[in-house]
Amino acid sequence: MIMSVIYFLLFLIEPTIAYDTGLVFITMLQQVLPALGLVFLLLLLANLFLDPSRVKRYLGKTSGISGWIIAVFSGIFSVGSVYAWYAMLSDLKKKGMDQQLVAAFLYSRAIKLPLLPLMIHYFGVAYTLILSLYLVIFAVLNGFLVGKSQGRPGES
């Protein structure tokens, strides 16, 4: 809405620039639409097969390497607003979830599987794979560092 108002103001002030902007916008939209179709499909699959209670069941009881794996993959596959996940993670923390795993989970959310087609469209397959790999590595590193910064696990 805000952008529409800005564009309208631009049209009033500089119609030539607004026209050029419109052409650029249409070109970008045409290029992005196929990727959005794939995004829709992946979102549908996520809504069908994943829900927070299933993730909570496996994340709340594990520790060690398996806990890290579950934390990272749970973060990758998690969907929805981060605020909802803050609330759930807060609950799990009170029940003893390691803060390192909380941090790793939150970092892993950076990998948005349904949006990967869009990233591939703009940056290519190699870039997307390499970035995703580094995000996984840094999710673990981030979790480890956050855990160290907090002292003993479970303390905030």
């Binding site: 939209l29 992005v32 069908l48 941090a103 950076a110 948005k112 840094f138 907090q150």
Partner: protein, 145 residues
């Protein structure tokens, strides 16, 4: 195999999610169109295309305070890349957008602890710059082999 009872709610939820995304997508595309039209390629290259630490700091800084769906970061970053921004800068921008949450910081601090929230976001900010350089370096190595 999902039944009709499971498929319909999932379809509705997905449509709803996509409808919520569409204004963001159009808004970000329009914003990027305006930026790319108003600022010549030379300016974007000057600001974000030097491949130095300043680029990544600026890009990470902007990504850190930006809020919204991650799809917006991909759209903006992709178009900035086409317009002359460096790969390091756009990668730092994307990673900071999706990992650092200045806007969400109060909520995170309230629910997960102030010290946790501050340290986590600090490490995420530093990581965004490190990842940006690592990705660019790795891609270069792959191209050389």
């Amino acid at each position: 195999m999902p039944t009709k009872h499971e498929l319909m709610p999932a379809l509705q939820k997905t449509f709803h999610a996509l409808l919520q995304m569409l204004p963001i997508i159009f808004g970000m595309l329009l914003l990027t169109s305006i930026l790319v039209t108003l600022f010549p390629r030379e300016v974007i290259t000057q600001l974000l295309g030097q491949g130095n630490l300043a680029d990544s700091l600026v890009a990470s800084g902007i990504g850190s305070i930006a809020a919204g769906h991650p799809i917006a970061s991909y759209l903006v970053a992709g178009e900035l890349l086409s317009a002359g921004a460096g790969l390091v800068a756009v990668t730092a921008f994307i990673v900071a957008w999706v990992t650092v949450g200045i806007v969400q910081l109060p909520a995170e601090a309230m629910l997960l602890g102030v010290r946790f929230a501050l340290w986590r976001n600090l490490f995420c900010f530093l990581s965004s710059i490190a990842i940006a350089y690592l990705v660019a370096f790795t891609l270069k190595m792959i191209e050389l082999t």
